[in-house]
């Protein structure tokens, strides 16, 4: 209902945007995997062993502390491998799909929290503080749902939503029953979301306007002691679908984008599908590319032999190094060397043209020197630089005072991109949040 105008932030224009909205169906995946790292805050305890059969929607593992939190298999098949890394950390649970349609049906007459936990949709939500999977039994103050993704090359969520749009109203109804506050939905201008029972707010401005946390901060900030949930509109629609049909849909549309993709498009597949199937015929020169599940700011780097990761809707492929051994790049006057700052000449040609970006850091890590860089990229009432310093120095009181409960690593992603001192801000924020969570429990 309200319109919020955000001035801070920046839209990075990358090569490899989707030009037409055609959807291509991917083949049946060779394998499907669930990666426990995608669900921060859940410590896996396996329920299925290698070789056992699972139906779609059947739990693979639960959380160590809250047994009710289940992470489920997206397909029907056999558990092929529980891949472990250092110190028996579970890297991935790989399932061989059998092509069958055995799926769990839930009795949705029970309390919604119980149904959500059991269905595996619970772990698709996040809570502030700490940006983790919500703790069961805590009633959130409010629920914030973002209906658009403002990240570079991000998919249009209206398209990803597809025919699940009709379940939004039901999803809002269910969530309204789980909070004493409101369900807020943040939309773009001209985006039409019909959601009776929810408060719909329009957000105008560059990325990170599409982050649910940024929207929350500009509508009703998270205070110490508050818990709010955040999610995207796709998860909301899936919740609506679950409570309408009794089943969770694990199908998803993935935007395959980026400079190294031949024909950027939407591909329909299932959550956790193997990338070899998804990216078939899509990329060239895999050896010199970086495959990112998600967008270039918050996504994770994966190998072509791995699987689709949360939020299961975006893949970006960029060159790893497009200008090896660039001679004295810091002295460059070339307008194609992209910088949002006017110390380079890019701005003379305008910053709205799509550019090629590789994954070089383009500078060494330094102490924070320039002022106001983080604040210009963070549309929140927070002194980002002071908060980052408090986190680095491990000062818990200061972190609380400066508003760490309101933030998630993704909110600092753009600042990390823009940082002249090349600090790993998302990592710093994550460590701060984890430290605080350990301290508070």
């Amino acid at each position: 209902m309200a319109t919020v105008r955000l001035k801070k932030g920046f839209d990075i224009q990358l090569l490899g945007a989707i030009s037409d909205n055609a959807v291509v169906a991917a083949a049946q995946p060779q394998s499907v995997a669930v990666v426990p790292d995608d669900f921060h805050g859940v410590i896996p305890r396996m329920e299925k062993k290698e070789g056992e059969h699972v139906s779609a929607g059947e739990p693979l593992y639960h959380d160590k502390n809250y047994e009710a939190i289940k992470v489920v298999s997206p397909v029907s098949g056999t558990v092929k491998e529980v891949r472990r890394g250092e110190r028996r950390h579970i890297d991935a649970i790989v399932i061989s799909p059998d092509g069958g349609d055995a799926a769990v049906t839930h009795d949705v007459k029970r309390p919604p929290e119980e149904v959500l936990l059991e269905s595996g949709l619970w772990v698709m939500m996040r809570q502030r503080p700490y940006d983790v999977v919500p703790v069961p039994g805590v009633r959130p103050r409010d629920i914030f749902v973002t209906a658009f993704d403002s990240a570079p090359l991000a998919p249009n969520l209206d398209i990803v939503l597809g025919d699940k749009r009709k379940y939004i109203a039901k999803g809002v109804e269910v969530l309204n029953g789980m909070t004493d506050g409101k369900v807020y939905i943040g939309v773009r201008e001209n985006q039409n979301i019909d959601a009776p029972g929810a408060e719909v707010n329009t957000f105008v401005g560059p990325h990170p306007a599409g982050n649910a946390g940024i929207q929350a901060a500009n509508i009703k900030p998270v205070n110490k002691g508050d818990t709010v949930w955040t999610m995207d509109i796709i998860t909301l629609a899936r919740i609506g679908e679950l409570f309408t049909t009794g089943k969770v849909s694990h199908d998803t549309l993935v935007a395959v984008t980026g400079e190294m993709v031949q024909q950027p498009c939407y591909i329909s597949t299932v959550m956790g599908a193997d990338l070899e199937t998804v990216l078939k015929n899509e990329t060239t020169n895999l050896a010199q590319s970086r495959i990112i599940c998600g967008n270039v700011l918050t996504g994770v780097k994966v190998e072509a032999t791995q699987w689709l990761r949360t939020p299961y809707r975006h893949i970006t492929v960029i060159p790893e190094i497009n200008k090896p051994d660039e001679f004295m790049g810091w002295a460059s006057l070339c307008p194609s060397r992209f910088s949002i700052y006017r110390t380079f000449t890019t701005w003379l040609g305008g910053l709205k043209k799509p550019v090629s970006f590789d994954s070089r850091i383009k500078g060494g890590e330094r102490a924070i020197v320039r002022t106001g860089e983080y604040d210009a990229m963070l549309p929140m009432d927070i002194y980002g630089e002071f908060l980052i310093k408090a986190i680095i120095s491990g000062d818990i009181d200061k972190m609380e005072q400066l508003g760490i409960y309101e933030i998630a690593p993704e909110d600092f992603a753009l600042a990390e991109f823009a940082d002249t001192s090349k600090l790993e801000l998302q990592h710093i924020v994550r460590e701060g949040l984890d430290k605080l969570r350990a301290e508070m429990s």
């Binding site: 110390t343 927070i382 002071f386 990390e416």
Partner: protein, 395 residues
Amino acid sequence: MNKIEPSFRPGGKLAKLESVYDGMETFLFTPNTTSRLGVHIHDGNDLKRTMITVVVALLPALLFGMYNIGYQHYLAIGQSQTGWFTMFLYGLLALLPVIVVSYGVGLGIEFISAQIHHKEIQEGFLVTGILIPLIVPINTPLWMTAIATAFAVIFAKEVFGGTGMNIFNVALITRAFLFFAYPSRMSGDEAFVKVDSAFGMGQGTVVDGFTGATPLGQVATNVGDNLQLTNILGEPMSAMDAVIGLIPGSPGETSMIAILIGAALLLITGIASWRIMCSVFVGGLAMGALAHALPSATYPASMLDPVSQLCLGGFAFGAVFMATDPVTGARTKVGQYIYGLLIGVFAILIRVYNSGYPEGMMLAILLMNAFAPLIDHCVVSSNIKRRARRAATKE
């Protein structure tokens, strides 16, 4: 570079020079390092670019400073008809040793310190090294400059953790060290105009009636109710001379025009905070106007009009290049206004009402460097209070 790399890595013959090797490699080639975690793409800007932009912004002041050294010299020896290029060349020869000493000593210490800590060599001294020759009087013996630079780099920067960690502006500490350790060489008639030859160039004897005092030096020693500034030959000086910069003073500080070109570059590129820069000038104007409204023969500087206050001495140079140092200045937006304003006020306050120091800019900036964290603390506290109030009203 890749061929010789192994000998610099631990275990190699030249492992003690690893930092130097890294420094040279990252200087010549943009590192091929790709992001490991976090964002996958990074902006092209880094600290090297930032620092080099400041150095470029300092070039007009540097080049004009060289010319002015020559101009003042040939004026002093009665050969004011000399061509501009000769004057520039003389200035170049006079200033070059100072630049070499400043960079040599400063970078040497930085290199050693980086190697001891096994860190990359950082770029901070690029700017400091060019600032020092610009703010130290031209007749300062090189050994004094070397000692002062070493003192500043070690005790004002490295002990705090290096680039980005210092509390006080390193170049100003160099000057302050000289100012307090060798006061006789830092002011008066003999500090600012080089009268002897540089590498055999520009020989001659000083003309009668020569006085090398800077305008502010003249102001400080003025007696009586009339204030008439003169050039080094005792002829009356116009305001235009100060704007162009053909007056005695530290090499970088004399020309308003050269400084403002640098200021424009810093503001366009967004490296310097316009909030600080503008508020320093506003603070200086306000305090200058106040002092000028109450002129007094006891405090001769109060007879200067406020605009001259800004044009003379190191005020403009300090406002543009020193006060805006992001590391030692205030970092919050509101804080920057307060910080700048107070620098301007204190600079003029010291000039006018402290007869011991004809120039107040250096001390004003160093004083406010010390207070910048406090100003920021107050500004951030208001954010903290707002957040606490918000949390409290919820119940």
